[in-house]
């Protein structure tokens, strides 16, 4: 699957209070970049996720617009993730499910976050893919299947 030819769009909820604090939040430990790939929102996290910044990151992720089909959380540039991050993703998946939105996690095999996803069993309860393109493609399929889409 190829990326969207239209290219990444600026986040739709960029004017919210969260974006006012900047895409990297208050911590320089991690940065969150959110892009709209034609209704498929991708939140790319760069850096480390732990107890010190998990609340900031969570706030940036939960502001997903109601019309979005779902969210791709891209962990390809995450160098550290522990059980705090797992809890965050677990809670996020729950919230989205309640709103019939889907969470897809991008996390390549052999990366440090992948080992934690596997060890905590989160990998069996959420959709985890190796690369971004299939994740975006999957969300578009969801969108086409939806009667409102």
């Amino acid at each position: 699957m190829t990326p969207d030819p239209a290219g990444p769009q600026p986040p739709a909820w960029g004017g919210s209070e969260l974006s006012a604090r900047g895409p990297s939040g208050t911590s320089d430990l991690a940065r969150v970049d959110i892009q709209d790939h034609d209704g498929a929102y991708v939140a790319a996290i760069t850096g480390e996720v732990d107890i010190s910044n998990v609340d900031d990151i969570t706030r940036q992720l939960v502001g997903l617009p109601n019309f979005a089909h779902g969210l791709v959380v891209d962990l390809r540039l995450v160098s550290y993730l522990d059980s705090t991050g797992i809890s965050m993703l677990h809670d996020l998946a729950g919230r989205l499910r309640e709103r019939s939105q889907q969470l897809i996690i991008v996390c390549p095999q052999g990366s440090p976050p992948r080992r934690v996803l596997e060890l905590t069993g989160l990998i069996t309860r959420t959709t985890v893919v190796d690369d971004l393109a299939p994740a975006v493609q999957a969300l578009r399929h969801v969108a086409q299947d939806l009667p409102s889409g």
Binding site: D50, I51, S52, Y80, E118, L119
Partner: protein, 719 residues
């Protein structure tokens, strides 16, 4: 010797002998002294009238006259009768006199009997002279003069009497010597038995002495033992005639049967395996094969202990007397062996019991190194009253105690056990050493009443503060060796033993200890010797402690070896050594605020430390350690403290290829909220080889270990 051929003596006619058999003739004229029994005189002539004449001539001697009318009959008579002298006619039908004499001379039993030939022919005399030039031989030419014949015969009779007296005397002397030998043999074996308190030495000594006493070429001691059926060789000399594997099955084979039947035996003429030469595999020379064997069972109180076996390379080395003597000796040997076996068994039981009353392992503290030894009294199998103990009171403080209950035996051991448990309880309750000993003294007075005396030394070592507080009740003070090698004794005031006056509390003292310092606790058995000042013992200890190695295990052995001598082990001895260690070399030690921001900081510091100290660490293992470490820190922040400013400690250390991560807090954990805490702990357990959580009232320590090159989850990591 007299030759008188001119004499022409007429033989007197005598009544013919009715049955022509040798006749035992009682002395007609008993002129011999009554104490001297008559000796036998054999008269041989094929003419009965000549026999009758000889009788008539010799009867006045008062000896026993036996007659035979042929050479054959004479030989038969010699088989039955004890004869001192023979009168033998040369010219006889059948076997003549000379032939008969040759046969008599050829038999060992009759070889020595003097013979007086009777002949009428001078030519015979030359022949006799040639054939019997030496020895107790005479001849008489017929016809003979009665007086002369009587005189000649009586000379031989006297000679015979003297000879038998000599034999009797030498026999008596031999018997006396045999008795002396028996006594000496038994004495030698008893001495051997007394000199030994352990089996191997005794067995070797008994075999050596028995072999020497009986001039055996090979010897061995076969004994029953607890671990295998049958009998096994416990000591041997030469190559004893037992199976090569050195074991004898009861009831099987010659020795197995003798053992079961408890029978002593002298076996001669068989070929036995083994030999005199100890060189195995060598071809046995003709003189090296065992051809006679004595085997005697060792039995005591109707119980078979084993078998003593002696072998010789010649058939006539042992006789019935030797077997009898060895049997007597075996009784003594059995008693000695039984004694030693019982002693060894008793001592083993006592040691087992005593060790069961002592802690089987000492606590591990990262800042302390502990080792202890207990030596039972060497002389008698009895339980001593010495004891020691050590326990971890909390993360920083370790309690160490040593004591001595006066007396021995089961009562002392029971008392010791009660004191130890009571003191443990007071220590865990948080009493200081002085308070704990005062409480213990009350227990002693209440439980045991007057007469029970015990000494105790109690230390609490705070490794992180570097402080030792101690109190003692009548016990020698501990010795301290500083890192610089200086020795001093840590004194305290008022040191009455327990059981004297429970109103007087033991005083307490506090000393500083630094990394590298070593404390040595001991009981008085280590420094006290009979007829010696205690100061001499303390000086000896000081000297031994100064030169002892740093490692506490080696230190205990060294000090014991230098201070406890064979002669003085009449008392039991306990020692306990504690070495104070510094923080592990190259360890990472952090003190962090209990705030979320501390977690990435701690992780950052761990990464830097791992880069420097564990450069060979692979990427996955590094990630695992980072997660485990952060999870432990996260748990402290989430659960340990309320919303106050607090700190916690995190430590990382490498010991060989083992990485240890430790996170300690001083808070009281709240019950975990939600699922998060469980998820973090599960991750830690998955990522490390070993995780322990020590949760106490004053804080929690999480210790995690990971061995380099290991993956706690190989199958999941591969997926």
């Amino acid at each position: 010797m007299t030759i008188d051929p001119s004499l022409d003596t007429q033989l007197q006619a005598a009544p013919p002998d009715p049955d022509r058999q040798p006749v035992l003739t009682p002395p007609v004229l008993p002129n011999a002294e009554p104490e001297e029994p008559p000796v036998g005189i054999l008269l041989v002539d094929d003419h009965r009238e000549n026999l009758a004449a000889l009788r008539a001539v010799l009867e006045p001697l008062g000896e026993r006259l036996v007659t035979a009318d042929s050479g054959e009959q004479a030989l038969r008579a010699l088989l039955r009768e004890d004869i001192a002298v023979i009168l033998l006619d040369v010219r006889m039908a059948g076997l003549d006199g000379l032939q008969t004499a040759r046969i008599i001379r050829g038999r060992p039993r009759t070889r020595h009997i003097p013979i007086i030939f009777l002949t009428a022919q001078v030519s015979d005399v030359e022949e006799i002279a040639l054939a019997y030039a030496t020895g107790a031989v005479d001849y008489v030419i017929k016809p003979f003069e009665p007086e002369i014949l009587r005189a000649k015969v009586s000379v031989f009779v006297e000679l015979s009497r003297e000879r038998s007296e000599r034999v009797r005397q030498s026999r008596a002397r031999a018997e006396a010597e045999a008795v002396a030998r028996t006594v000496r043999t038994l004495q030698i074996l008893s001495d051997a038995a007394l000199a030994h308190l352990e089996m191997d030495g005794l067995a070797a000594e008994l075999v050596e002495r028995t072999a020497t006493l009986f001039q055996a070429d090979a010897a061995c001691l076969l004994l029953r033992d607890e671990h295998a059926p049958g009998l096994g060789v416990h000591a041997s000399r030469g190559r004893p005639p037992v199976p090569v594997e050195g074991r004898v099955t009861l009831g099987e084979g010659t020795f197995g049967r003798l053992a079961v039947e408890r029978r002593a035996a002298l076996l001669v003429g068989e070929k036995f395996p083994g030999g005199a030469s100890p060189a195995a595999g060598e071809a046995s020379g003709p003189g090296e094969t065992i051809t006679s064997v004595m085997a005697v069972p060792l039995v005591t109180s109707d119980e078979l202990l084993g078998l003593v076996v002696l072998g010789a390379t010649s058939e006539d080395r042992f006789d019935a007397g030797d077997l009898e003597l060895l049997s007597l000796a075996a009784d003594r040997m059995a008693i000695a062996i039984d004694h030693v076996q019982r002693f060894a068994h008793g001592r083993q039981l006592v040691e087992t019991l005593q060790r069961s009353l002592l802690p089987d392992r000492l606590p591990h503290h990262p800042r302390l190194e502990l080792a202890a030894r207990y030596l039972p009294s060497g002389l008698a199998p009895q339980i001593g009253g010495d004891w020691y103990d050590a326990l971890e009171l909390d993360r920083d403080r370790t309690a160490v105690m040593i004591g001595d209950v006066v007396g021995h035996g089961v009562r002392a051991a029971t008392t010791m056990s009660e004191l130890r448990n009571a003191l443990r309880a007071f220590a865990v309750e948080g009493h200081s050493p002085g308070e704990a000993l005062h409480q213990l003294d009350r227990v002693v007075h209440a439980t045991f009443g007057p007469g029970m005396i015990a000494t105790v030394l109690f230390l609490i070592i705070d490794a992180s503060k570097g402080v030792v507080s101690l109190s003692r009740a009548g016990h020698p003070p501990p010795a301290l060796r500083t890192a610089a090698g200086e020795i001093r004794f840590l004194e305290t005031g008022n040191t009455l033993p327990l059981g004297i006056d429970d109103r007087v509390p033991a005083e307490e003292a506090e000393y500083r200890v630094a990394p590298g310092d070593t404390l040595l606790l001991f009981t008085d058995g280590l420094v006290e010797r009979r007829r010696e000042s205690i100061n001499t013992g303390l000086d000896r200890l000081r000297d031994a402690f100064t030169n002892a190695p740093a490692d506490v295990e080696g230190l205990c052995d060294f000090v014991l070896e230098r201070t406890v001598s064979e002669q003085t082990s009449h008392d039991d001895v306990a020692v306990l050594a504690v070495r104070v260690l510094g923080p592990p070399l190259g360890a990472l030690e952090l003190t962090l605020p209990a705030r979320a921001q501390a977690v990435p900081l701690a992780r950052h510091r761990l990464r830097v430390w791992l880069d420097e100290n564990v450069p060979e660490l692979d990427r996955v293992a590094r990630g695992d350690l980072e997660v485990a470490w952060s999870e432990a820190c996260t748990n402290v922040i989430r659960h340990a403290y309320g919303p106050v400013d607090a700190t916690f400690e995190a430590m990382a250390a490498r010991d060989g290829n083992v990485i240890t991560l430790e996170v300690r807090d001083r808070g009281r954990w709240r019950p975990p909220r939600g699922q998060h805490g469980g998820r973090g702990m599960a991750l830690m357990r998955n990522l490390c080889d070993e995780v322990s959580v020590d949760r106490r009232a004053d804080g929690t320590t999480v210790t995690m270990r990971r061995t380099l090159g290991s993956d706690p989850l190989p199958e999941r990591a591969a997926s």
